[in-house]
């Protein structure tokens, strides 16, 4: 079936069956490959995108449910000042290793800072607990969020 998606400020008409995870429409049809496939069952966070500014796992978000939403992916999250601050902090601290989980980490970090501009360590650990990093870059993720919070405060 044909659907209209609002993604990264643009309108796209896509052809997908109901029940298709948003992840695969983004990756395979729109060919935006920054959003990653890690588990498909909402337990790693690699596929995190924003729906109306809130992080969701796109592997468990179905295409028919997002027609009216504003979708933002990693490719556009840096257009916003929180996204830009997180990306800047990530580079300053060299958070990444293999990098495969990091799109999702950045999307979740932006979600956290959007609702809590100065999160405590406990709040960071709690909020980010659904984003797995097999390279175990966690301590830099924590520091990166704190640094982004500082950048935003300045």
């Amino acid at each position: 079936m044909s659907l209209t998606l609002k993604l990264n400020g643009q309108t796209h008409t896509v052809d997908a069956e109901p029940g298709t995870p948003l992840l695969w429409v983004i990756r395979d049809e729109l060919k935006l490959t920054g959003t990653k496939f890690g588990c498909g069952v909402a337990s790693c966070g690699a596929c995190t995108v924003h729906l109306n500014g809130e992080p969701v796992r796109s592997c468990q978000t179905y295409i028919e449910d997002v027609e009216d939403a504003e979708i933002t992916t990693i490719e556009a999250v840096g257009d916003d000042k929180i996204g830009a601050a997180v990306q800047q902090a990530w580079v300053e601290l060299d958070v990444v290793q293999c990098g495969y989980c990091q799109s999702g980490q950045v999307m979740s970090a932006v979600g956290l800072l959007s609702e809590n501009s100065k999160p405590s360590v406990e709040e960071i650990d709690e909020y980010m607990s659904g984003n797995a990093c097999r390279c175990a870059t966690y301590q830099r993720i924590r520091a990166g969020i704190q640094r982004a919070s500082e950048i935003l405060e300045a």
């Binding site: 069956e17 298709t20 995870p21 695969w24 990756r27 395979d28 049809e29 060919k31 935006l32 490959t33 920054g34 959003t35 990653k36 496939f37 890690g38 588990c39 498909g40 069952v41 337990s43 790693c44 690699a46 992916t73 990693i74 490719e75 840096g78 997180v86 990306q87 990530w90 580079v91 060299d94 958070v95 990444v96 290793q97 293999c98 990098g99 495969y100 989980c101 990091q102 799109s103 950045v106 360590v121 960071i124 650990d125 709690e126 980010m128 607990s129 984003n131 797995a132 990093c133 097999r134 390279c135 175990a136 870059t137 966690y138 301590q139 830099r140 993720i141 924590r142």
Partner: protein, 728 residues
């Protein structure tokens, strides 16, 4: 030696018009230079006419940093800033890009990238510098000795010009046979903590391209339906339900009958169509054992005479010494199967060009593996096979299969088609957990005797498990007198001076497909050695640090001295012995891959209500730390990888089928599991050694020793969460 030229197209821009200076090494190791692509060698450094300098990175980037480290070596020697050097991955060509430590095999593993490239890349950079300087000397009519290059600018007295000016002239010169390498006192980039990774930005903004992101025109996505347990054979299939899936194309039994390939227009269609496919399996040759049986076999082997007397010890004498000892400490350990689970599920894309060449897009860790396998499968000469190395979303050993498993699977899924459409093979996380290669299960049994003064009089150590190396192409190099060194490394070559050591090994029968897993044998040997050191020290009534140092006291033995030094540094930085109230500490130190790491784990809580890991302090000696911040990151990651698995993870089998399937039951380390990691690097003038793996071995035993200190129980079977230890 003949090397075709078509493959060189992968060096983007190398064939572009204008002068280009290329410097590298010939297959015999001699430095070589040329003005454009040649058939004589492949370059390590390329300088375009406009002065753009590119490091050709022969080791693949899975997060461990060669895309930063190798450019650092070249930038240092030429005299550039890190912003003035780019990188690209080398094409697959083992004759020129071989890993010196592996023989004629291009690969990355065993934490060798920096160790192997340290001199090679510096020499190439230094040769380029000398050639640019000699060209400037001619052009300016000044003596070469008065010319320097700094931040990409060539200078002599009041003359200065960017290196671009001399590329054309330099490319006409011979490469110096022995260029002068910078003295460590002149280093500005090597060892500089402020040097940043070159791949940070693209990995934080979604632009980084992994193999999973490859989309070649007209591609099909293939997924493989595999039997429940390994060894099953596909006899036939019914795809009537798959046909209901929009985007389903067709299915075909793989030529080796190991599974059925399902082809679809996109990934989601492939996932659904594979789910819907019914396959008739012949399971008569399939694995049927439970992991309990595999464990029982290992335990039985530990109770029997070992097959190999690894260190040719006088076993009867050692045994008698222990029998007659004042005190005996005895412990049996079990380590389960583990999956690697790199974040990017395995995948690769294969296509055939109009000329009949085969192109593989792959996060290839050992490109020589698929390169050789494809010559057989496609009956093509090596120059007709091209491997494009993409970024890899982690590996931990999984991408380095000696039999090139997933690349071969992709080739098989491709050859059963008419080859008109490229095939992208995609594994799901379930495929990764259930159909993979595993860290083999291992058991250790150790008996240590102490005299009345608390001195070791005998250490009898038995190891049993499935060999990783036997039956692979590496057997000739890594198996000696029947002993797979990777099964005993970390015990057999321990720097500790242990009197009366007898080490025995028994290979247990093949249980499943096994593979090296971050730090290989050290995953179980370090745990055994370092928890035993604590238990033995306790029995001797001695402090665990002092007891270790007493066995590392030979001042003429650099191995012992370096191991002792990291131990002391970790003790100092961790505030060993001064843990805040309610906390316990554990320590472990281990040498692996030429590097030494000591770690102190500090925990709070208790076993019943849950233990919390508050802090891990690490001291590492990896020779010269080329990029100290990358070294720290690798230690942080190695510690997390080691601790995460012993806390909660194992792979178990029921009737040969893997019980776990995805992250919910193979739970990764999460952000809240370790509150802080603090890494310290021992200053060193030695050549660089590994950093990708050495952080892992001491992490789990240090945790175990902390738990032992807190609870009085040493956990000798993993995962800890299923052996009486709860974590919060």
């Amino acid at each position: 030696m003949t090397i075709n030229t078509s493959r060189r197209g992968f060096l983007k821009g190398a064939a572009a018009a204008g002068a280009v200076l290329l410097v590298g090494a010939r297959p015999d190791g001699a430095l070589a230079a040329a003005s454009s692509e040649t058939t004589q060698f492949n370059p390590f450094v390329k300088i375009d006419a406009d002065g753009t300098v590119t490091a050709i990175v022969k080791h693949f980037e899975k997060g461990q940093g060669p895309a930063t480290g190798l450019p650092t070596l070249i930038a240092e020697e030429i005299g550039l800033t890190m912003d003035q050097i780019e990188y690209e991955f080398a094409p697959s060509d083992p004759n020129v890009y071989n890993n010196l430590l592996f023989g004629p095999f291009q690969g990355t593993g065993g934490s060798t990238a920096m160790a192997n490239s340290w001199l090679q890349y510096r020499q190439a950079g230094a040769a380029a510098r000398e050639m640019l300087i000699n060209a400037a000397a001619q052009s300016w009519s000044v003596d070469a000795s008065g010319i320097t290059i700094e931040a990409g600018i060539v200078k002599a007295g009041d003359k200065s010009a960017p290196i671009a000016e001399f590329v054309a002239a330099a490319s006409q010169l011979e490469a110096p046979a022995e260029p002068r390498l910078k003295d460590p006192s002149e280093f500005r980039l090597i060892g500089n903590e402020s040097v940043r990774r070159k791949d940070s930005a693209i990995k934080g903004n979604g632009q980084a391209m992994y193999a999973m992101d490859v989309h070649v025109p007209n591609q099909m996505v293939a997924m493989i339906k595999r039997p429940e347990s390994k060894g099953g054979i596909a006899k036939g299939f019914d795809d009537s339900a798959s046909k209901e899936v929009k985007g389903y194309i067709n299915a075909a039994i793989l030529p080796n009958q190991a599974g059925v390939a399902v082809y679809a227009e996109d990934t989601w269609a492939a996932i659904q169509a594979r789910d819907a496919l019914e396959v008739e399996w012949d399971m008569s040759g399939g694995e049927t054992r439970d992991s309990d049986q595999i464990k029982a076999e290992i335990m039985a082997a530990l109770e029997s005479e070992p097959t190999y007397n690894v260190n040719k010890a006088d076993v009867a004498a050692v045994s008698a010494a222990i029998d007659g000892a004042d005190k005996v400490v005895e412990k049996t350990f079990y380590f389960p199967l583990l999956a690697h689970a790199p974040m990017e599920p395995l995948n690769c894309t294969i296509e055939q060009t109009a000329e009949g060449d085969i192109v593989l897009h792959d996060g290839a860790q050992m490109p020589t593996g698929p390169h050789m396998a494809y010559q057989q499968i496609f009956q093509l000469p090596p120059e007709k096979i091209h491997i494009k190395t993409m970024l890899a979303g982690g590996s931990f050993g999984r991408r380095a299969t000696p039999d090139a498993d997933y690349q071969v699977e992709a080739a098989l899924a491709f050859v059963v088609t008419d080859r008109s459409r490229p095939v992208k093979l995609v594994w799901t996380r379930e495929d990764d957990i259930r159909s993979g290669y595993y860290r083999p299960a291992f058991g250790h049994k150790v008996r240590v005797g102490l005299d009345a003064d608390g001195n070791i009089v005998g250490w009898q150590h038995q190891i049993a498990g499935q060999s990783v190396i036997k039956g692979t192409a590496f057997e000739a190099v890594l198996v000696h007198d029947g002993v797979d060194h990777s099964s005993v490394e970390g015990v057999a070559d321990s720097p500790y001076a242990i009197p009366g050591m007898a080490l025995g090994l028994t290979d247990t029968p093949k249980a499943t497909t096994v593979l090296w897993w971050r730090s290989v044998g050290h995953t179980h040997t370090a745990y055994t050695m370092e928890t035993m050191m604590d238990l033995v020290a306790e029995a001797a009534g001695r402090d665990p640090v002092e007891f270790r140092l007493a066995h590392l006291s030979d001042s003429a033995n650099p191995d012992q001295q370096r191991k002792a030094a990291v131990l002391k540094l970790a003790v100092e930085k961790a505030g060993w012995g001064n843990a805040p109230a309610g906390r316990s500490q554990g320590i472990a130190v281990h040498k692996s891959f030429g590097s030494y790491a000591a770690e102190v784990v500090e925990i709070s809580g208790d076993a019943e209500n849950g233990i919390k890991i508050e802090k891990v302090t690490c001291a590492v000696d990896c020779g010269i730390a080329v990029n100290p911040d990358v070294v720290k990151a690798q230690m942080e990651g190695g510690i997390g990888y080691g601790i995460g698995h012993v806390m909660r993870d194992q792979i178990t089998l029921t009737s040969g089928a893997v019980d776990q399937s995805n992250f919910p039951d193979y739970e990764p380390l999460r952000i809240g599991d370790i509150a802080a990691i603090d890494v310290h690097i021992v200053p060193s003038a030695e050549a660089p050694t590994g950093v990708g793996e050495p952080g892992t071995p001491p992490s789990a035993p240090a945790l175990a020793n902390a738990i032992h200190a807190m609870t009085g129980t040493l956990v000798a079977s993993h995962p800890m969460a299923e052996n009486g230890i709860n974590f919060v």
